[in-house]
Symmetry: D2
Subunit: 389 residues, 4 copies
Amino acid sequence: MTDLRGQALAALATQTIELPSWAFGNAGTRFKVFSSPGVPRDPFEKISDAAVVHRFTGAAPRVSLHVPWDLVDDFGKLAQHAADEGVSIGAINSNLFQDDDYKFGSLTNADPAVRAKAVAHHVQCIDVMRATGSTDLKIWLPDGTNYPGQDDIRDRQERLAESLQQVYAELDPGHRLILEYKFYEPYFYTMDIPDWGTSLLHCLALGEQAMVVLDTGHHAPNTNIEFIVAQLLRIGRLGAFDFNSRFYGDDDLIVGAADPFQLFRIMNEIVRADALRPESGVNFMLDQCHNIEPKIPGQIRSVMNVQEATAKALLVDRDALRTAQRSGDVLGANAALMDAYNTDVRPLLAELRESQGLPADPYRAYAASGHAEQIATERIGGQQAGWGA
Amino acid sequence: MTDLRGQALAALATQTIELPSWAFGNAGTRFKVFSSPGVPRDPFEKISDAAVVHRFTGAAPRVSLHVPWDLVDDFGKLAQHAADEGVSIGAINSNLFQDDDYKFGSLTNADPAVRAKAVAHHVQCIDVMRATGSTDLKIWLPDGTNYPGQDDIRDRQERLAESLQQVYAELDPGHRLILEYKFYEPYFYTMDIPDWGTSLLHCLALGEQAMVVLDTGHHAPNTNIEFIVAQLLRIGRLGAFDFNSRFYGDDDLIVGAADPFQLFRIMNEIVRADALRPESGVNFMLDQCHNIEPKIPGQIRSVMNVQEATAKALLVDRDALRTAQRSGDVLGANAALMDAYNTDVRPLLAELRESQGLPADPYRAYAASGHAEQIATERIGGQQAGWGA
Amino acid sequence: MTDLRGQALAALATQTIELPSWAFGNAGTRFKVFSSPGVPRDPFEKISDAAVVHRFTGAAPRVSLHVPWDLVDDFGKLAQHAADEGVSIGAINSNLFQDDDYKFGSLTNADPAVRAKAVAHHVQCIDVMRATGSTDLKIWLPDGTNYPGQDDIRDRQERLAESLQQVYAELDPGHRLILEYKFYEPYFYTMDIPDWGTSLLHCLALGEQAMVVLDTGHHAPNTNIEFIVAQLLRIGRLGAFDFNSRFYGDDDLIVGAADPFQLFRIMNEIVRADALRPESGVNFMLDQCHNIEPKIPGQIRSVMNVQEATAKALLVDRDALRTAQRSGDVLGANAALMDAYNTDVRPLLAELRESQGLPADPYRAYAASGHAEQIATERIGGQQAGWGA
Amino acid sequence: MTDLRGQALAALATQTIELPSWAFGNAGTRFKVFSSPGVPRDPFEKISDAAVVHRFTGAAPRVSLHVPWDLVDDFGKLAQHAADEGVSIGAINSNLFQDDDYKFGSLTNADPAVRAKAVAHHVQCIDVMRATGSTDLKIWLPDGTNYPGQDDIRDRQERLAESLQQVYAELDPGHRLILEYKFYEPYFYTMDIPDWGTSLLHCLALGEQAMVVLDTGHHAPNTNIEFIVAQLLRIGRLGAFDFNSRFYGDDDLIVGAADPFQLFRIMNEIVRADALRPESGVNFMLDQCHNIEPKIPGQIRSVMNVQEATAKALLVDRDALRTAQRSGDVLGANAALMDAYNTDVRPLLAELRESQGLPADPYRAYAASGHAEQIATERIGGQQAGWGA
């Protein structure tokens, strides 16, 4: 066990989790968006907040940007601001859902002019990548239909394939196009990329720089997500995670909040495939918003939840597990997994953090820091950021 | 069959479906609300639009109001406007989800002052009922929590029971309190009235004037809704329907759009229990919005879908059905039901409408009427109605 | 924390979990029943196996029987055998699904003769209760239909109500009728008691001796089970649990295997309502079978899983939780719950067991005991027990 | 419309639906298998029953066989029997779920000897194909695990890929390997081919003779099945359907019984892709059993349901649909689809059948034929066929 513990500490020291800029703005449901004191008014303040999460956790050194919400005149200046705060710019996320033109689709729209507009938007995003040093273009396609017959399912796939080719052609060699799937919402009958199979088919058609993004909240009920993780790793096409959680609907709860055992099982497949290493090409990102809880602590808790699930996965005694599996010892193999899951890894993570000069409990340290009160006092006036800015 | 047809015509002639005022305003998802030309700017225009649906279908003589979205200075004037347009005011819907105070609950809030505010809001709604002649106070409780531990499940039930008692005490003798349940949204871990059992328990505690509202889109996947209809009818507590449909998430698609067979099975239980008669106490209401389709035609189509499902249910040969059921003839009993479902009832409904001086196909007649173009031209300026006005 | 720990130890020392006799027989799916060496050949051997589980865990002093699978000539002798082995007879379970007469229903059958037979079967079960000292008659009603129209939903409810009245009338004063609900299976369109609301309505109609059984595997996907627990406790009608777990289908996996966090949340509601006490009237039973894993270790693991979830629930700092809840501290309240969940309670339970003269780890102790090998050697010949014997 | 009607008649005249031999044997749930009078005792009688369905419907000229349930000494004789009865042998189905060796997997088993046995079983099936003239080897892989950790997800994929390669290598040039996926059951944590993506990946690795089988009952709740149909058609890998239906669990209800609108939407994608033509390579098969309803009438009803859904799909006015889709007319496009769905196609099918010298209503004609009574009288003695023979 000593050895496992040491290996776990080493692996955890290298783990990084990317934060979404939009997690720091206001968010909500179709019924209500609640606002909170201290919410950022611009991309610079969002990055500052993300940097606070990194300062307390030591594990969140990158920030995903969203275009156009995070558009600034000078992206060089934004990247420098990030560097000054100790973080860097991560994936660039395009927005295909807030324009009136996209009512019936963006990259899939029957109107070539709308498709061209959606492609051009990605060219703009790639420019932001070049200006900020980002390497990942993340596409979540919100296209779909609400009624049977509304549009032709197959035509939409063909248009999508063509639009994606045009975007892909714009990438630089070091760039990746990472393509997300989602089971439902904001359309309710079809989604044009509803499952991992569809995302993968498009990635295979595009080429080596295209990878699948798995958002933990984007599956049908009771889908075995760790199976998909294992499958995508097996064929070398798991590009990134969007971590969050969900009981039934919505997908913006704190990762691990709804089913911590599932998160552990997912991280177990990552560790089993040796894909935790930064060079494995899997980008571990959060994609969640905070409707009713404070944002910075919400992100800190999320980072900690991923770390705890990872720590448990690292503590699985793989020799014991393998032995039990090979001998058909169902309960013994399950027990080998559960022994790790049932371990309280908070002391291990506290040890790691203290060795890094970080607070043992980032959540409590932040609460005691006075930072929340400070930004609530300072950030008066202006327009709080939200979905739309 | 002649007899069944005649009875069906007679029953269909008395069927009424209540329209929600908010169906005529803009609506959308948390991602985007699309606006449309011609959308009403105030409650008077909403009622006018509802009256158009009634003029074309002859089956939609009432309009549900929403407080505060439909607040006007003079409700007597609004009721008179409705009467002038040929419709009347139906259920009054309270709003417990758009106030910052309700972030952690309304009727269930731990803070007595917030609960008192929510109760007072219902007193206001009851005043609107008196001013408009409405008899139904409809409560959809959007309260709930997002995270395990966030609040105490049982305390919230006790507070809810107490708040409902206070509201109930304000009702006049001819009034009803109709109480809706919803599986999820806008909260994602618990909803305080998530299922028919919880709604019923509160109604039983309140008294005879409290009834359950069944919203067809508010159940876990694969729930047998017609079973619940039959059960609530059996114990005399089905107060109303909120009709709409849903594939997986959201609950605002046109009723019958996702699963017309389910709608038929629901109406079959209504007919079987002889609960179609207006005096049965079941109020058949639509509760849906139109995100991407035009609103008046959307409502016309919805009314037609309910009529078609009802017509099919009325055509079930109940003697043949009963005989097959009693003899254990599984396929024969199923066939008796399916014979009615597979019947094309559009000619029957055309006959009914023409006998009433209505267009045989209200949807096409409306499209040809020029009304949509007219309101698009006339309703320029002002603020289009939506969720919030 | 010291205090919580001490209270937890005291509460855990009184917790008992009832085992099902059928868990020790062979079980499987409709596709295949695998047999295992050492499986009991008769009710006496099943009770002996259950007693082994109790000897290793100290927490499983009762065995549920199933009629007719556990029919013996002399139930007094069986009860004495149990007593000799250190256990007692728990709930008596009726069987309404294995007789050809029940193809279209048992207590709900359209044929009065079949209903009378099903009622008479329960009279027989009550006789077994008298002969064995059991106080709980457990009814799981497998009745339902496969096709729309197959039978009349409401007629079946009326027949069920009448049949249950007849059974209830046979109970002795100290007896309880505990009534289970199930979402689906073995019928696939309707189940006659599909949800807690239906079970509760029948219990309310029957009287004070009728209580609801909540089987953790019998709900629609994503149903919030702990909410139902809290609601049934609130109205004093939670009679018993059938513990097991389920990912999507079937409901026979080891309790806590699919979602240990859910099991913790359920036990948290139990502890919160002070319903762990034996005198609370909630009978904690396992109802699961072991398709591919060995049976005695499977039951030991199940008991341990319930104990661990209970221990965690007992460690919740309810003052901290309440304070955070009252102040709207969403993350703080969630953290208070998660702090307990994330605690490794195995040392606490080891301490408890050792103080009781039990092995610290019953699962490993059993594996090392040689008992499995012994019964595999001894139980040669005869017919292994399964569903049907 | 005349033209559409004529085209529909022509297309319907060429449509064929393959019947499963096992539909004529007894089947049930894990709780109970009910037996029926007149059930076949051997493969010859099963084929005779299938031929009866064909004689009454004219649309079911092939019978799928199951190995080993349909093993006979002389397959040439069985094929001749089929020919004499007017039908032919369709797909050969392997069985990987009824052998004790397969408890922990067949083609995925960790033990090479078990995998070799499972591969050898397919070689035997391919021999049956040669002996009967069958061209499709259908593999439903029931492998999976019940508990997290029980076996290594990825290792199982690798073993599966290798085993499938060995089977594929045995195919003759005109043969196809058609590979089914299933969401859950008979294992409940992982299934080794749980979704279309996994099946497709293995088919792509195997080669051009490997195709995906879509079983309509094998998806997570609310999965959009017609999307998958469209996607598989788009990439040329939809090899066959297994038709049946399901409300929540099990997957053996009569096709179209649970959601006839879904069946229509599926057939609409088939017609839209011009894949109804026999030469399209899509084999339309039933895969269902009849637990409580009589088998021959159950199969007749199933064939009729597929025909009706197909007829409706053929009546979609595709020009009107396309026009509405292209102009963003959501309700108009939906209406174009629904107009076809709402049409009563029973007269059209009656006309077709009568033009073919068949009864207008095969279900009623069979009921009146006396055949059911005849086989009930004749088939006395022997062992009724079921799962296992």
